[in-house]
């Protein structure tokens, strides 16, 4: 299997490490919604067909990629940066140092 890293180009799967289901959304850090946290920490999709996954290019640039892969055929239909995929709720209640 080849994954095309947006930085490094097509690389063998052995350069990557799987970082899990890419469909999860991390609740707001201050949230006490136990169900939402439980879903984030434990629930994983395991579809037959297209799946969104996070892969880290750990043997390369170490970027985390959001990969859309067909679990039946291994065909990868898209690769992007995981950071652009919105796996989080906004942390609006806290300012970042850059803004402070």
């Amino acid at each position: 299997m080849l994954i095309t890293c947006p930085y490094c180009g097509p690389r063998d799967v052995s350069e990557y490490s799987y970082q899990g289901d890419g469909n999860r959304t991390r609740p707001d850090p201050a949230s006490t919604d136990q169900e939402a946290w439980n879903a984030y920490v434990y629930d994983r999709l395991n579809p037959r067909g297209e799946h969104h996954e996070i892969w880290q290019h750990s043997g390369g640039c170490r970027a985390h990629l959001k990969v859309t892969r067909n679990t039946l055929t291994h065909v990868i239909s898209s690769v992007g940066f995981a950071r652009d995929a919105g796996h989080r709720k906004s942390d609006g209640h806290r300012k970042t140092g850059a803004e402070a």
Binding site: M1, L2, S17, Q19, R26, P27, P29, A30, S31, T32, Q34, W37, N38, Y40, V41, Y42, I54, Q56, S58, R62, A63, H64, T73, H74, A82, R83, A85, H87, R88, D91, R94, T96, G97, A98
Partner: protein, 997 residues
């Protein structure tokens, strides 16, 4: 002259004689022979005994699909079993043995199994090995005792026990077009692609590329087909953009057009040449693939079809034309199609006598009829062979009138004497690789065969693979496929001329003659037509179940010749058509792959070694090293005659009373830098770091998202935007990946950069009441007094000219400092500290003393942070900030992680003052009837020189409330039981006065 070698002909080098032995007898062959062809030339027809019934078996085929003639090759004490004699090139000094016979091939006691045929039918294993269900042996392991002997009788070759000394290699290759198979189609494809200037690899499993051109009697382009092939190969070899891989089996087709191939580099010689591996495993990434893998001829199924002397027609044609061998004296032919007539012609030309051609079709093509007339002998159309005669060698066949539409036999059988019977059940395209990179194969009624599936990867087929069985067609398709694979537009050229013999490859749809006797479908696994029918009677209707129950197609040949006949019999039993019954997918590997070639250089201990900068010093100064993950760390620095316990007790005492030095370079170190570094640390640690003053360090605790403890360590604030985080040695990589994920995926807006700097810093911890004096004696540029360097303070200075960074923190519980310097200065600074410490009696100390002091202090490490403990379990809840959310904060207080019944950290004192072991259980009572009701376990143990007794840390259910009570240690594995007292985990200096002093 060997008895069965034709006077002339063949592609062997008759001037070169090869000497080899088979079953202890010496034989000769010629360069270019396989073991099969050389033995046949010597008149040998018995090659082995069959798997289950120990029936005598000869050689059925001439290629990779051989199910019968499997031999063991001996090289010194190394035995390699199950090598097809048809694929083994002879060389001087080759020693081969037949298999599955005792005491000898000629007289095999296992042959008695033939009498028990009914007992050994399909599912024999499942039905038999259930153990006695009645009688005195019921419920015993009697059958397991029997199985030992039955297993010995079954099976094929025997593997050796010696270490295999051969060297194997792995190779990666990249090309635009990979052509699999170098027959006429493959050669044309390679040529067409190479002409377009793309990078081409041409792989073929035989030693001499050419495929069927090497054994067909045709002419191509006005020359013998084999000469045309040799000429084309010469031409291709001369090109820079073509790589030829002979003796290379492409065995797997994987994602992204990645193919696996095994090159047998040196199996055709006594020993590999200098620098040569035995096998080379290729991983080939290619733009496109041309599958020109040809087709395999199928046997017909009829009683006695496994007798030595019964061979595929194409195999005999190959033995005659390629090897100049006549595998018999008097030949009979039994076929359901025209292709076998070519073999008859070849035999006639080479001087063989044709006794009869038995064709189960009533109507045959004029071309076939003409050949039958030319070669002589009887020609029985509308007839079938219903049995064979002879013992270990065919002596004759029994023939009866046969209706190819109804399958009914009639009239009286007649006997025809023959010592070699050629059989042909039509051809199956070799679609194995396509099946790994395509949808389901497509059944062709016309060819009675599965044709290649629709491709799911970028390959294109040509020649026999596509179901076209003429050489002219192969050349045309090969040319077109080569162009297509190279991305070039189709273009007509003048193709090499081939003479057309007008034979029709379409078979009659009959693969089995139903008559009395054992008719073999899978020769290698001894599966008969009756076994398949029995499986059907017993309710196995799916091909997948049929395959597993009868083991049809599950031997090392993977059913190359038995698949379609097996399906035909199954379909007949079900009253269905073959495509309705379906076929099983062909999985990799296409042919057996040596395990050595998959491992190649990766065997033995292949982990990298991680050495600290002071490693050599430790070795030179008597350290006993200890593996900690990939790291090598000093365990003790024993004096002559000291035991491990004596050494660590001495080292611990010296630290507690004087001063000692330990290498802490292995701690994970991560530079956390950037304007949001403080904020980031607040989010990942349970306690606050944004408020930490520059020049100070703080102990931090990290949780996982699920609220359990991940890791601990100190983090130093070196500047406003510059932190140095330390992690435990074992978790350095895990913590780095955890932080990177959060930063990259969850909080990409934070301006933080993470850099692993573990290997950039050397670290030494100097500990003990006299440590400050030692520092004062060697530190320049700053001071080590309490005011300049308070507890958890950081200073920068120099030691013997090398810049250092010192943080006053303590793992041992004593006044202590961690001295960090660039890795290149590690040994220099270490030696300077040892020199400065000499007047104070400094000693180096190892992991054992370090561990002893941490147990005395009750500090946790990986044994307690085991992925199941919470901060509260480890009494670290004081570190859980209530002012902010952090990773794990939302989940750490959920049900099950709080309240009663948690395993909590405690101290343990064995009351009999005897050592206990890590992993030993803690119980409330020792029961007579065996150990049970564990309330926890010991995580770490030592002899404490400070307390003068054995102590341990343990995780015990509701441990905090049990302090001051008694329990027992229960260690049935090591047979250690005894009373213990449960105490606080702070054994020593609980207030921390010593390190603050």
């Amino acid at each position: 002259m060997s008895p069965r070698r034709a006077v002339s002909g063949g592609r062997i080098d008759r001037l070169r004689t090869i000497r080899f032995t088979f079953d202890g007898h010496s034989y000769t062959g010629h360069a270019g022979d396989t073991l099969a062809s050389a033995l046949l030339a010597n008149g040998v027809t018995l090659f082995g005994r069959s798997f289950k019934y120990h029936r005598p078996r000869g050689v059925l085929t001439a290629g990779v699909e051989e199910p019968n003639a499997l031999v063991t090759v001996l090289s010194g004490a190394v035995r390699e079993p199950n090598i097809p004699a048809t694929m083994l090139e002879v060389y001087d000094g080759l020693i081969a043995e037949s298999q599955n016979r005792f005491p000898s091939l000629e007289y095999d006691v296992g042959a008695i199994n033939q009498l028990g045929g009914k007992l050994l039918g399909a599912g024999f294993y499942y039905k038999t090995f259930m153990g006695p269900v009645i009688g005195p042996l019921k419920g015993t392991r009697f059958w397991m005792f029997c199985e030992h002997f039955i297993r010995r009788a079954a099976g094929l070759g025997r593997a050796g026990t010696e270490r295999e000394p051969s060297r194997y290699e792995r190779m990666n290759a990249f090309c635009d077009v990979l052509v699999v198979g170098a027959g006429p189609a493959g050669l044309m494809a390679a040529k067409a692609a190479a002409d377009k200037g793309v990078r081409v690899i041409l792989a073929d499993l035989d030693a001499n590329p050419g495929g069927s051109a090497n054994w067909s009697d045709e002419t191509i382009d006005g020359m013998a087909a084999a000469d045309w092939a040799a000429e084309t190969v010469r031409e291709l070899k001369a090109r820079e953009n073509v790589r030829m891989l002979p003796r290379t089996t492409v065995w797997g087709y994987y994602d992204n057009n990645t193919l696996a191939a095994l090159e047998r580099v040196a199996d055709h010689k006594l020993a590999p040449a200098k620098g040569e591996p035995r096998h080379r495993q290729w991983t080939i990434r290619t733009g496109a693939v041309v599958l020109a893998t040809g087709a395999l001829e199928r046997p017909l199924v009829f009683p006695g079809n496994d007798r030595p002397g019964v061979m595929l027609a194409s195999a005999v044609e190959r033995y005659v034309n390629q090897y100049g061998v006549l595998p018999g004296r008097k030949f009979a032919i039994f076929t359901n199609n025209d292709s076998a007539y070519r073999a008859a012609l070849a035999l006639k030309k080479a001087g063989g006598e044709i006794a009869a051609i038995v064709d189960l079709r009533e109507k045959i093509s004029p071309a076939a009829r003409e050949i039958a007339g030319k070669v002589g002998g009887a020609h029985h159309t509308g007839h079938a062979v219903i049995d064979t005669e002879g013992g270990k060698q065919l002596t004759g066949i029994k023939v009866q009138r046969f209706d190819d539409r109804t399958g009914v036999l009639s009239d009286d059988p007649r006997n025809i004497p023959a010592d070699c019977l050629l059989i042909s059940g039509g051809w199956s395209p070799t679609i194995h690789l396509a099946s790994q990179a395509g949808l389901n194969p497509v059944w062709s009624d016309e060819l009675q065969a599965f044709l290649p599936p629709q491709a799911t990867q970028n390959w294109v087929g040509a020649g026999g693979f596509n179901g076209g069985f003429t050489t002219a067609g192969a050349l045309a398709e090969g040319h077109a496929a080569g162009l297509k694979a190279a991305g070039a537009p189709a273009a007509a050229i003048e193709l090499p001329a081939v003479d057309d013999d007008g034979l029709d490859p379409k078979p009659a749809p009959v693969l089995e003659i139903k008559a009395k006797g054992k008719a073999f479908v899978d020769h290698q696994h001894d599966v008969t037509a009756d076994d398949v029918r029995l499986a059907h009677q017993e309710g196995f209707v799916s091909v997948e179940h049929l395959k597993r129950y009868t083991t049809l197609g599950m031997a090392t040949d993977q059913g190359k010749s038995s698949n379609v006949p097996g399906l035909a019999i199954m379909a007949d039993a079900l009253g269905k058509q073959i495509p309705e019954v379906g076929t099983t997918r062909f999985r990799p590997p296409f042919a057996p792959v040596s395990v050595g070639s998959l491992a190649a250089e990766r065997y033995g201990d292949i982990r990298p070694d991680r050495l600290t900068p002071m490693h050599d010093w430790h070795l030179e100064n008597g350290a006993t090293m200890y593996g900690a993950g990939l790291w090598h760390r000093p365990m003790i620095y024993a004096l002559p005659g000291e035991t491990v316990e004596q050494a660590y007790v001495r080292e611990t005492k010296t630290v507690r009373e004087g001063v000692g030095l330990v290498d802490v370079s292995t701690l994970g170190k991560i530079a956390v830098q950037g304007p949001d570094a403080g904020e980031f640390l607040d989010r990942v640690y349970t306690n606050m770091f944004s408020t930490l003053a520059v020049g100070k360090a703080r102990y931090g605790l990290m949780l996982r998202e699920d609220g359990l403890v991940l890791d601990d360590g100190t983090t130093w604030r070196l500047g406003q935007h510059d932190f140095l985080m330390t992690t435990t040695t074992a978790n350095a990589g895990k913590v780095m990946q955890h932080l990177e994920y959060l930063l990259d995926v969850v909080w990409p807006e934070l301006k933080v950069q993470l850099t692993s700097v573990t290997d950039q810093w050397a670290g030494a911890a100097i500990a003990g009441p006299k440590s400050r004096d030692v520092l004062a004696a060697c530190l320049t540029g700053t001071k080590a007094d309490n005011e300049t360097l308070p507890f958890m303070g950081i200073v920068r200075g120099e030691i013997d000219g090398a810049p250092v960074m010192i943080c006053r923190l303590s793992f041992s519980g004593e006044l202590a400092y961690e001295v960090y310097c660039g890795a290149g200065h590690g040994t220099h600074v270490w030696e300077a500290l040892m020199k400065a410490g000499k007047p104070f009696g400094i000693v180096p100390y190892g992991l054992e003393a370090l561990g002893t002091m941490r147990i005395e202090k009750g500090h946790v490490t990986g044994a307690e942070i085991d992925g199941r403990t919470t901060a509260r379990d480890l009494h670290l809840d004081w570190m859980l900030s209530k002012k902010k959310p952090f990773v794990g904060s939302a989940m750490m207080d959920r049900e099950g992680l709080v309240g009663e019944g948690r395993l909590q950290l405690v101290g343990i004192v064995p009351l009999n003052n005897r050592p206990v072991n890590g992993g030993a259980h803690i119980v409330e009572e020792l029961y007579e009837d065996g150990p049970r009701d564990s309330i926890g376990h010991v995580t770490a143990m030592c002899y404490s020189p400070t307390l003068g007794k054995y102590i341990a840390l343990a995780l015990v259910k509701d441990g905090k409330s049990r302090r001051g009570t008694r329990a027992f240690v229960s260690d049935p594995l090591r047979k250690r039981f005894g009373p213990v007292e449960i105490v606080s985990h702070h054994f020593y200096d609980p207030e921390g006065n010593r390190m603050h002093g």
